[in-house]
């Protein structure tokens, strides 16, 4: 089962089977969906465990010719960079199907769309053909639209569906233009990533072309990741989405843009990366500070989680902007950690919405008494969100800050303030409003999550957060060698001029963390 094609196509085939079943087989739909995502999860775990860290090249590779006339092929594989993401994606997909118990109407359409989305997401993270990567990512577009429209909540969900769809399409199309430009400029007549990498390593593009294409990819992928100031679709979209769609989207799909930047833009366009690094660092600060402040003002739990999730993306961007091994490794850890965290938060919020019919912080309170399990889970998730050590977010955010220090000290100072203070303020205030204080009469009968099946998704996600938080080496040992290879051209491009001007003073005031000697190479 440790076969990538199997992992990706399990949900897709299940979607097809469900679509072809008669409408009355209601029980079977959910079972099939659970089974398919569980198989994917088992496969992803096995791939993650069997991966040899540091081995050159791809593992579990599978290549099939597809559209030879255009240089497009089916090519999947994993290395240290995407094994963790694949695991996280499969875990969130399984959890998302688990929490879909709340859906009672039109289950057939629901599970078909959810599984399509899950398959597309998993496929996007293991594709090594740029075209395939794009197609898998876009597979989620129509399902997202219909899921939010049909099962979404709130009065402005109609607006939210169109906003999220148009924003994501715009971002995706800009990125596509960048990818096509890359393909045309490389002149290799292939969309295959390893081949393009070899080709461009031998004959790099002209600096001006690199800069333009990197800009296209940065803003295209950036919109997909809700880069400030193109982030407004995210909070409203997530607030309107049904729980499972929000989990998959905020948790996994959104990471695709970051993945694209790390996997495609950094190694293939090192000069372009250098040109844009400063801009990116300041925009990332926009995410961290601006969206953090916006999150502080929210009275709706979903909007709060949505804004905080946008704010967290700032750390991921900052890590990329550092163009250093430490920073980018941190970005990948943040991607995985935040995927789990966002899915967990939306799962809890979805549970609250289903049972209390509101997630307005002003109407809730004292719920820890009636909902001890959920309350415990949520408080831990909130601590993780403030970057408390012991949860996977902490190593990720710390690494991005360390990595960015040598190149963007000002931004790091401001970002650290945002991370430590602003996040703590809104998370703790939300925790107080939700779980402490007097319990309104109407919530006395609220039912906590009972039974192993109901608790399973929460336990899985929180467990993964804690495991990777206590032993981040499980991730970093895999990620670092690959990131070192991918970042090398770009960091060279930075290092050469930077070292020429760079004062020994800066380097001595910024002692690199002991375990990361690559920075000062």
């Amino acid at each position: 089962m440790a076969n990538l094609t199997f992992i990706v196509f399990c949900p897709l085939v299940a979607a097809l089977v469900i679509a072809l079943l008669p409408r009355t087989f209601n029980v079977l739909f959910r079972l099939l969906a659970l089974g398919a995502t569980f198989l994917s999860l088992v496969g992803a775990v096995r791939v993650f465990l069997a991966l040899e860290p540091g081995a050159a090249g791809l593992q579990f590779e599978h290549r099939v010719p597809w559209i030879a006339a255009l240089g497009i092929g089916y090519h999947v594989g994993v290395d240290g960079l995407n094994a963790g993401l694949l695991l996280m994606g499969a875990l969130v997909a399984f959890a998302a199907v688990c929490v879909s118990r709340e859906i009672t109407e039109r289950q057939q359409v629901y599970y078909v769309l959810l599984l399509l989305m899950a398959g597309g997401i998993l496929g996007a993270f293991v594709s090594f053909d740029l075209f395939l990567l794009y197609v898998f990512h876009e597979l989620a577009l129509v399902p997202t639209f219909i899921l939010i429209g049909l099962w979404g909540r709130g009065e402005d969900r109609n607006f939210a569906t169109f906003q999220i769809t148009l924003y994501l399409s715009l971002g995706a199309l800009i990125a596509l233009a960048g990818l096509i430009a890359l393909y045309v400029q490389a002149g290799a007549d292939t969309f295959n990533l390893p081949e393009l990498t070899r080709r461009l390593a031998a004959q790099p593009l002209a600096a001006s072309a690199q800069s333009v294409i990197f800009g296209l990819l940065l803003f295209g992928f950036g919109v997909l990741v809700s880069l400030w100031p193109f982030h407004t679709w995210a909070p409203t979209g997530y607030a309107a989405a049904p729980t499972a769609a929000a989990m998959l989207h905020a948790g996994v799909l959104k990471k695709f843009g970051l993945y694209g930047l790390i996997r495609v833009a950094l190694p293939l366009l090192p000069e372009g990366a250098r040109d844009w690094a400063n801009v990116l660092a300041w925009l990332a600060l926009g995410n961290i500070l601006y969206c953090g402040l916006v999150a502080m003002r929210q009275r709706d739990l979903n909007l709060l989680i949505g804004n905080s999730s946008v704010a967290h993306m700032g750390f991921a961007f900052l890590g990329i902007a550092s163009l250093s091994v430490v920073g980018v490794t941190g970005t990948v850890v943040v991607m995985i950690a935040h995927g789990l965290l966002a899915a967990l938060s939306f799962a809890v919020s979805g549970y609250l919405h289903q049972h209390l019919r509101t997630v307005n912080l002003d109407q809730l309170g004292g719920l820890l008494r009636t909902l001890p399990f959920l309350g415990g889970v949520m408080v831990m998730a909130m601590f993780a969100g403030c970057g408390l050590p012991g949860f996977a977010n902490f190593p990720g955010e710390v690494l991005t800050l360390f990595g960015a220090w040598p190149s963007h000290p000002t931004v790091v100072v401001l970002a650290a303030w945002g991370a430590l203070v602003i996040a703590a303020v809104y998370m703790l205030r939300a925790a107080r409003a939700l779980w402490h204080g007097p319990l309104p009469e109407r919530w006395r009968e609220a039912r906590d999550a009972r039974g192993a099946w109901v608790r399973l998704p929460f336990a899985l996600l929180l467990g993964a957060l804690v495991i990777f938080g206590c032993a981040p080496r499980l991730l970093t040992d895999q990620i670092r060698p690959v990131v070192a290879r991918l970042v090398k051209p770009a960091s060279k491009a930075v290092a050469a001029p930077a070292l020429a001007v760079a004062t020994p003073a800066i380097r001595s005031t910024a002692p690199p963390p002991a375990s990361q000697p690559e920075v000062t190479q």
Binding site: I67, A69, V109, V135, L139, L141, F145, A177, I180, Y183
Partner: protein, 482 residues
Amino acid sequence: MSDLVVIGLELAVVLTGMGVLLAELWVSPAQRRRLGQGVALALGLVLLASFAITLEPSRTAFGGMYVLDELALFFKRLFLLAALLVTVIALEFADRFEAGHSEYHALTLFALAGMMFAASAQHFALLFVAVELVTVAFYVLVSFTRRRVTALEAGVKYLILGALASAFLVFGIALVYAATGTLAFEALAGRLETFTGNRLVVAGLLLVGAGLGFKLAVVPFQIWVPDVYQGAPFPTTAFLSVGSKAAGVVLLLRVLFEAAPELTARSGPLLPLLAGLTMGYGVLGAIPQRSLRRLMGYSSIANAGFLLVGVATRTGEGIGAVLFYLAGYVFAVLLVFLVATLVWRGAETDEIPALGGLSRRAPGLAAALTLGAASLAGIPPLAGFMGKFLLIRAAIQGGAENPTLYWLAAITLVAAVVAIYYYFGLVRAVYWGEEVTGAGSVPVSRPARLALVVCAGGVVGLGLFPGLVLGWARQAATGLSF
């Protein structure tokens, strides 16, 4: 005699049309439906026969006026397929015609013959005759439901503007002839070098372009489209938006790249400008529409713009992309019209909100409509995406030599995003639009079901496995000179 063999496909279509007219004398009214099924069957056979034709070497007829080459064959297959599916739509729509079922099928066949001749035109005379054959047949087809005022209005508008376009066309041809003394494309291309600065030739070709622009629905000759689309019966609208447009495309390609390649190469920013304007007009006009046919009318204008992007690149890649895009477009548009015809059987409406609740009443049709709309919107992995991808790729590739194309690619991207908005409006109406009261389940006849499967299969198949058709499209584009 050998000429008749070369035009065998057209002959078969014309004979079928006449056969249908005659057959009505003997067929009882209760059996009329059979007639349409017979037409569909015959078209299917002709389509199959077209694959038996070998083109080594490409053949000509009537002293070189008519050519049967890869490009012609590609379009003939496209027209045959479109007419076949349109006939199935017409079968479903037939209850709404008071009389003249067989005439409707016969006129469709005659229009089809005109399109097929157009695909082979090598001479301005054949071009004009073919265009007139198509247009005159459509004059009747547009106002076929003759008791409805909107249909008559559409018919009159199409008649007046069509006649105007024909006048442009014939005047342009006359000017070209006056200046150069020839009407044959090949001879014209040979002599054009001596006439490059000749204003008469330039004016003549611009007028010809205007006449064809009317067929294609290119700005500024697009005004008629929404009204005519809205008033015409569904099958006619469907045939207008795929067949008539594709005929315009093939004639444009023939004129631009066979009759006047020299002038085309020196046309500067004209084609990119028209492409950009057409896309912009189409997508912006489509946003507020409530009538499905009107929406498809604006979408048809926008798609003419997308097609022109490929033409404007003036490369084999670009033209190949245009042909591929058209193939995907045919399947997607006919899928939408087929579903609409089935859903609104017996209803006078074509308002998009009237699709509300379709996903409960007929989940299969709802999924089919979603597929068609998503393909038109250019969502991977469907045919429409592949087509847009190829067009944008061709534009970016051509940008190295002609930087205007970078701007065109950017406009195409923006237009594609706007297009997503209005096509997804259809999806919204189907899935969570307000439910229409009193609407029951939707019966789907066997031919319609087959046509649905063919269209959906085409939309998905061309998206996932574009290799074969793309190969044909590229092969067809090789005969043109850029």
